[in-house]
C-alpha cells in the first residue's frame, strides 16, 4: 500500500514536470511569434506637428506674441502655461528672437533628449550604427525613433512695452514610450 502511494506521488510529480516543460515550450513559441508578427505604428511625428501648432496658436494668437504677459516663472513651463494636459514624453522649446538675436527662451520637458534625435538622424544619414566597425540594420532601431517637428514663423512681439517684429521658432520632440 505504501509503495502504491509513493508511486502515485511520483506519478503526480512527473505529470507536473511534463506540464511545466510543455508550458515553457508553448510560451517560447508564442514569444517568437509575438516578436515576428508584432508591428508598431509610429505617429510621433504627427503628434509633434499637432503640439507645435497648439503651442504657436497659444503663444501667438492672431500673429502677436505678448511676452510681457508671460511671467518669467512660466518660461520653463510653457506647455502647462498653455493648459495642455497629458504631455508627458514631450519636449517643447520656443525661441523668440528679434533682429538682434534671441530675446527669450520658453520651454518645458527634458531638453537633453534632443541628442537622441541627433543620434537617430546620424544613423539614418550614414546607414551605419554609431558603434565602431559594425553596421547595424537601422530598421531594427527605427521603431524607437522619436517624433520631431520644427516650426519657424515671423510674428509681432510685445516686449518691454514695445512692439517689435521678430521670429518664433517652435521645436517639439516626442520621446518613444512603449
Amino acid at each position: 500500500m505504501s509503495m502504491d502511494k509513493k508511486a502515485q506521488i511520483g506519478e503526480g510529480v512527473w505529470m507536473i514536470y511534463k506540464l511545466l516543460l510543455l508550458s515553457v515550450v508553448a510560451f517560447a513559441v508564442f514569444g517568437v511569434s509575438a516578436f515576428y508578427y508584432s508591428y508598431q505604428i509610429n505617429i510621433r511625428n504627427a503628434e509633434a506637428v499637432i503640439m507645435a501648432r497648439d503651442i504657436s496658436g497659444c503663444l501667438s494668437p492672431n500673429g502677436v506674441l505678448n511676452l510681457d504677459g508671460i511671467s518669467k516663472r512660466d518660461y520653463g513651463k510653457i506647455i502647462s502655461y498653455c493648459n495642455i494636459g497629458g504631455s508627458q514624453g514631450f519636449y517643447v522649446g520656443v525661441k523668440v528672437s528679434d533682429s538682434n538675436g534671441q530675446i527669450a527662451k520658453l520651454y518645458q520637458g527634458d531638453s537633453g533628449a534632443l541628442w537622441v534625435r541627433k543620434l537617430f538622424k546620424s544613423v539614418v544619414l550614414t546607414g551605419n550604427s554609431i558603434l565602431d566597425g559594425n553596421s547595424v540594420d537601422i530598421r531594427k532601431i527605427a521603431k524607437f525613433a522619436p517624433g520631431y517637428f520644427k516650426l519657424d514663423f515671423p510674428t509681432l512681439i510685445v516686449y518691454n512695452s514695445k512692439k517689435i517684429v521678430g521670429d518664433i521658432e517652435v521645436e517639439v520632440f516626442v520621446k518613444y514610450e512603449k
Partner: protein
C-alpha cells in the same frame, strides 16, 4: 487487474485534458497575434488619440461598433490615455493623448461618442 487498467486510463485522460488546455490557450494567443488584432487595435487607438490631440472645443466624433478594423466593444479614457477593445482584444496600456480640454466618452446604441468639452 481491473483497478490497474482503470487507474492508468484515469491518469492518461487527466494528462490529455491538461495538455489540451495548455495547447488551447497557446493556440488562441497565437491566433490573436497572427490575425493582427493588436495591429487593428493600435490603428484605432492611435487614430482616436490623434483626433483628440487636434480637436477644438465643442468637437465630437463617433466610433462605430461595427468598425472596419473589427468590432469595437469598449472605448474609455483613463489618466489621459485612450483604451479601445477590438474583437475582444482588451487594451492593456492604451495610448496617451494630449489636450487642453476635457474629453468624455459616451456609449450609444451603435458605437461610442467622444466629445471635447471645456
Amino acid at each position: 487487474m481491473t483497478n490497474k487498467r482503470g487507474s492508468i486510463l484515469g491518469k492518461v485522460l487527466t494528462n490529455i485534458i491538461l495538455i489540451g488546455i495548455v495547447y488551447a490557450i497557446f493556440f488562441i494567443a497565437v491566433a490573436g497575434r497572427v490575425n493582427g488584432r493588436d495591429v487593428k487595435q493600435q490603428i484605432l487607438e492611435k487614430q482616436t488619440a490623434l483626433l483628440i490631440d487636434s480637436a477644438s472645443l465643442g468637437m465630437s466624433f463617433f466610433i462605430r461598433s461595427a468598425n472596419i478594423n473589427g468590432f469595437v466593444s469598449d472605448v474609455h479614457i483613463d489618466n489621459n490615455k485612450i483604451f479601445i477593445t477590438v474583437d475582444g482584444f482588451v487594451s492593456q496600456s492604451g495610448y496617451p493623448y494630449f489636450s487642453r480640454y476635457s474629453i468624455n466618452v459616451k456609449k450609444l446604441k451603435n458605437g461610442f461618442l467622444v466629445s471635447v468639452n471645456g
